[in-house]
Symmetry: C2
Subunit: 197 residues, 2 copies
Amino acid sequence: MGNIKAIANGSKKDVILKKAAALFRLKGFKASSMRELALTIGVEAPSLYNHIVSKSELLQHICFSVANEFTLQLQEVELSKVSNTKKLEQLIRFHIKMMVHSFDEVYVANNEWKYLDEPYLSDFLKQRRVYENKMVQLVKEGILKKELKNVHPYVSVLTILSAVRGVEFWQRQKKDISVEELENNMVNQLLTGLTNI
Amino acid sequence: MGNIKAIANGSKKDVILKKAAALFRLKGFKASSMRELALTIGVEAPSLYNHIVSKSELLQHICFSVANEFTLQLQEVELSKVSNTKKLEQLIRFHIKMMVHSFDEVYVANNEWKYLDEPYLSDFLKQRRVYENKMVQLVKEGILKKELKNVHPYVSVLTILSAVRGVEFWQRQKKDISVEELENNMVNQLLTGLTNI
DNA sequence: CCTACCGATCGGTAGG
DNA sequence: CCTACCGATCGGTAGG
């Protein structure tokens, strides 16, 4: 009983966070009102503030929980004993899985971060820059090892990170293809290209 | 004199549209106020309405002028007598050029279209769907002609269209690489891949 | 958890 | 082009 209550108390904020991510994704942060959010949860707007501090707090929580998941995964990949090509493949697959399984949250982190207040905005951008730089390093090493072509590392990382965001559109439309097949196709195009040489 | 006045009159709305695109890109449509837009132009907010009908009209104008440019270019590419691979390459290069030379407008069309009112919203989405479908057709034909690998055409188009949006980030950061080099790198990765086989 | 309510800001209009 | 202003809506608080 005590346990259940504890879980229930703990999960009320989680419910708000989940619904907030869905609403922010659908309408955008600025166009989402707390009254509308309250409506989807089934309470009046002021009642939300028994569980949360502010609308901004919701955005902060969503953005940083996503950023932290990506950062953690990158650290894990960096430590694994595989080729740099394989590391990039693992990252691509992880990005796609995240887009599929935490669509609302990842979308919000990707598209609504600019509405973060300081100092969160700067922290978020810094964390993203570190992430990009580490990926650039993976590409640079891959080039040195002759695994990868002599590409511009930053442009290559940009291309990969943008391409995986395409899953945003797939999410909303076609489901005639499995996540596995989606991953394989995207990995193949990004790593080995589209043409028959 | 008459001419100059006519041009000045005609271009006042153009100035508003240009400043609106920049503001909407920076802050997002919903977070951009007409008072702020007026400030960047040097008039009071109500004065804007001597030149425009509404805030929505600005968004409509930006989104559809971008959409129409892309649609026109696609029609031109479809008619050209080159391989399907070359057609895709031309489209990729065009997308990148548009991102570079009309950054604010393309960004707004890509990210703020959801705030269009009906029936413009439906029209815009339909135009985008037609565009995607025609690109899918180019990929399908390329596969039949054995130019392209046996990929999932829709995923491939998704990957291309998302990847070129990566120029959004390049725009804001690094300028240590020319547009030409950026195009070449992106075209190469998308068409021939990143790895040495 | 609710009702009642606040100051701020919004897009846009009236009238000159 | 301006000043003055309107009704609607916002995030959030007070108080119970």
